[in-house]
């Protein structure tokens, strides 16, 4: 409305709109596109959740969630991911203030929490294997490993991405491109924490209940 009033209704006006739209578009379309990717990733997890929902009680006379799951361990895992979410948030706030050192520190802390999460998950899987609960033991375990490991794989890729971005930050600083990348990873990271809510609720807590 303001442009419409100030710019004369001649040839200058469309050019004015054009640059405005371009500037807005290139920034916005990346975020929108990445959001759409996250939504499609959400569908992958939804199919895995549905599979687990259907097969999660088919124990084939094998071990049940009650025999296997260690809830205090899962609570620690959950805390790791939640802490990493808030530290990534702090990194984004420092990025907004253009303080690269603090951004890097918070990102590094986020990465460490992520590594802790993945290590605990691997340790849990090794423990389950020793307990005689590998993926091929029952349909429940197949769907369990597929769902949880897909999430763990996402977190691992997120850590790799984080390391790459730390290198980029050191080389190029807080340039516009790096900020955009950090914002994408931020969405990815928080999204994985969101999926984990579903995992610990449906798989671990509800598994132990029955």
């Amino acid at each position: 409305m303001m442009h419409g009033e100030t710019a004369p209704p001649g040839a200058a006006a469309p050019v004015f709109y054009q640059t405005d739209e371009e500037g807005h578009h290139s920034e916005g379309s990346t975020m929108l596109g990445f959001w759409l990717y996250l939504m499609s990733d959400c569908l992958i997890f939804a199919t895995l959740f549905a599979t687990y929902g259907v097969l999660g009680r088919s124990y084939a006379a094998g071990p049940t969630p009650k025999d296997l799951f260690d809830l205090p361990g899962i609570a620690v895992n959950t805390a790791m991911l939640l802490f990493s979410s808030i530290t990534y948030g702090f990194a984004m706030l420092e990025m907004d203030r253009d303080r690269i050192k603090q951004t890097q520190i918070w990102l590094a802390i986020t990465g460490l929490f992520g590594v802790a999460f993945v290590s605990l998950e691997i340790r849990e899987f090794v423990h389950l294997f020793h307990e005689g609960a590998p993926p091929w033991r029952s349909a429940f375990l197949s769907s369990f490993y597929t769902l949880v490991a897909t999430h763990g794989l996402h977190v691992s890729v997120g850590i790799l991405w984080l390391v790459v971005l730390l290198v980029q930050l050191r080389k190029h600083g807080l340039i516009v491109e790096n900020k955009r990348r950090l914002m994408c990873l931020s969405m990815f990271w928080h999204f994985l924490d969101l999926i984990w809510i579903g995992v610990f609720t449906v798989v671990y807590l509800m598994g132990v209940l029955e």
Binding site: M1, M2, H3, G4, Y17, D20, E21, H24, E27, G28, M31, L32, W35, L36, M39, C42, L43, A46, T47, F49, A50, T51, G53, V54, A61, L71, P72, A75, T78, A79, L82, S85, I86, G89, F90, M92, L93, M95, D96, M183, S186, M187, H190, F191, D193, L194, I197, G198, F200, T201, V202, L205, M206, V208, L209, E210
Partner: protein, 134 residues
């Protein structure tokens, strides 16, 4: 085309809003802390309910922890992913609503259909399997 849309919705406030969003699109310190505290509470309660065997009825417990999980997801979407109905001209919100719709249909439909399928199958236990194999 999008210039037309801007005219229709009012260009001034729209530009201002999207500009403010792209600069401060990560929320404030306060909003992160709010989200974190809410998440901690919404995580501790379901763990406490299950580990402490607080409610006798396991069906009620599972419904409660499912509801708490759903609420925590919404908290994450608002405070960590900074979702609102305005960002990107509403397209992210539209995509989110569509995804939720598909996910709900898929999850509820799969569990419902497969539950009834299991029910209507002839009972077949390990004994039958061995007889059939013979």
């Amino acid at each position: 085309m999008s210039a037309d849309a801007h005219h229709l919705t009012g260009h001034g406030p729209e530009t201002h809003d999207s500009h403010a969003h792209s600069e401060g699109g990560h929320g404030s310190f306060g909003s992160y802390i709010t989200g974190f505290v809410l998440s901690v509470i919404l995580t501790v309660i379901p763990f406490w309910l299950v580990m402490g065997n607080v409610l006798d009825n396991s069906l009620v417990t599972s419904l409660v922890i499912l509801a708490l999980g759903g609420v925590q997801m919404i908290v994450h979407i608002i405070y960590f992913l900074h979702m609102n109905t305005k960002s990107e001209g509403g397209w992210t919100f539209l995509a989110l609503i569509f995804t939720i719709m598909v996910v709900v249909i898929m999850l509820a439909g799969s569990v419902w259909v497969m539950y009834h399928l299991n029910h209507n199958m002839m009972p077949m236990d390990a004994h039958d399997v061995m007889n059939n194999a013979r």
